[in-house]
Subunit: 329 residues, 2 copies
């Protein structure tokens, strides 16, 4: 089978490609080629199929979607997007890339099918990286799958609109779409970034490496997490589940670990001792604290759970995944 990955150079994209290369197959079918698209050159892991190629391109530029789709990939993992802060600061760019870019991929598939006339055998699985930013407060606790999408950002709006298109194109039979609403990924490897959620990883990652980390919110703040490894698992599951019973409910909130900052800290204590916990430095950051206040802490992802999507069970497991995958333990 042929696989196309957009955003293949990103943190999750790279891990997804590594997993696909290691598995050599997807849903029991051998992988013949991987096409890896990103605005930066995507690394090719050792052992990748011979026909694997990186393409350095912006998928949302005119003509790129058509070029990518005319090779008729069997599975498309669409992870590429600009992040929330960028989409909020750059209104037109956000819609152009996150929404119109995704739509261009959908349309390229529909047009490719039309080449075959009245009927076409080409009907790829389309896995779309969505976001919990599609919903907005006030939040019931826990949040059911049936909650209306009332995004409070342009990014969330673009993801919610793409979810709607994904469902309609799937309903019409143009492709077989599954949308994956990711939890906050923790522990992200690498350095702190400018995302408001950065500290959720930082207060574990830095102390585990013997470094100090700032904590701008109180112990009571509750959030929804999954590891990078779990996120890769979500995409693999989305590519291989039986979608025949989904109807138009194509985008699903993923399972995760609901944990408070206090619970994160206790998990760190178990993994790294009081010494590690002492490296967490409480700081005042009303800007971040205020953003985080609008986030949700607990979901009831019944549909995804019933479809076999799996996350970690608790924060001890999330830390263990980081130690295994990033610290070589």
């Amino acid at each position: 089978m042929k696989i196309l990955v957009t955003g293949a150079g990103g943190m999750i994209g790279r891990k997804l490609v590594e997993r696909l290369v290691a598995d050599k197959a997807l849903g029991g079918k051998p992988i013949q080629s991987l096409t890896l698209v990103d605005v930066v050159e995507s690394p090719i892991p050792p052992g990748a199929p011979k026909d694997t190629k990186p393409i350095t391109a912006d998928f949302s530029e005119k003509g790129v979607a058509t070029t990518l789709i005319q090779e008729r990939p069997d599975v498309i993992f669409h992870l590429a997007a600009i992040v929330s802060g960028d989409a909020e600061a750059n209104f037109e760019k956000g819609y152009r890339i996150n929404f119109n870019g995704s739509w261009a991929l959908f349309e390229a598939i529909r047009q490719e099918r039309e080449k075959d006339g009245a009927t076409s055998n080409y009907k790829p699985r389309f896995v779309f990286a969505s976001s919990l930013a599609v919903i907005g407060p006030p939040f019931p606790d826990p949040i059911p799958d049936s909650l209306a999408t009332t995004p409070t950002s342009s990014y969330g709006t673009q993801k919610a609109m793409t979810e709607l298109l994904l469902a309609d194109y799937s309903r019409k039979g143009y492709f077989d779409g599954v949308g994956v609403r990711l939890p906050t990924i923790c522990i992200r490897p690498g350095k702190p970034n400018k995302a408001a959620s950065s500290f959720f990883s930082g207060i574990l990652r830095e102390p585990l490496a013997g470094q100090e980390a700032p904590l701008p919110v109180g112990d009571e703040v509750r959030h929804w997490f999954a590891s990078p490894r779990a996120a890769v698992g979500f995409f693999i599951t989305a590519a291989t589940i039986d979608t025949s019973g989904l109807g138009v409910r194509r985008s699903m909130t993923m399972p995760g670990v609901s944990a408070t900052v206090g619970e994160q800290i206790e998990a760190l204590r178990k993994a790294g001792g009081d010494k590690a916990v002492a490296l967490i430095k409480r700081v005042d950051d009303p800007f971040v604290a205020n953003i985080v206040k609008g986030w949700a802490g607990r979901y009831d992802p019944q549909l995804a759970t019933s479809m076999g999507f799996q996350a970690e069970k608790n924060f001890d497991e999330i830390i263990k995944v980081y130690q295994q995958d990033e610290m070589g333990q």
Copy 2:
């Protein structure tokens, strides 16, 4: 104030324009001009302001939105759309008109504001005719405002996507949007049409005129109704409410009368006697019966009710409105 109405030649559009002309004002402000857009020529009611003009154009054609918006209307009633069956049969056309056409109006406003540089005083009220087709089964009973939009048609998808854009453009301050999810309008004046919902009006309208009418479903079928007069009232209310407390919840399910076909028939009996009821002819139409089975019967439109939107209280009132407005009684 200047008012723009798209879809001004349609059944509700014409009634809305008549009401605006009769009121001479909107929200306490005198109406100076009406621009009436439709693909057919919009009738101008007697007594309309001098600067009223009909424009025969497809609002979704390139450049039309910019032309309409550069006159800087204070209130825009956007009713134009292709209907559900047309959007389902003509995939590209439905998205082009119902979604991209609406987006073009939104963008034209944002671009018009940009002419003023960093700040603009131009921030119109944008009233958007949405639809209960944005949601889909399975339905809780009653259906809360917070139910996810899972449309089962391209038409519903296009309306749901436009609702999301309406909320985001409003959140960004580009305009002040309100989306109105209309109940099934009953009693529609005129002749039966090809809509699956046509019989809901037909079984009252035809017997009240001494003519037979087919009924393709059972007495137990429950649905959600408002009169054409109530629909016009929804649009007027949407144009004049204080939106400051709405946040991103810009599109609302309108109040209505939840009634079964059996209750419709008993209301007809009160208005027209057994003689009128005897004109209803039960017919087998599995195609219509099957479509109607997927529709919802009862909503709990708390937000719209709290904002002052009002429908009829029962079917007796709906029939009385028809007799007054269409039969001169």
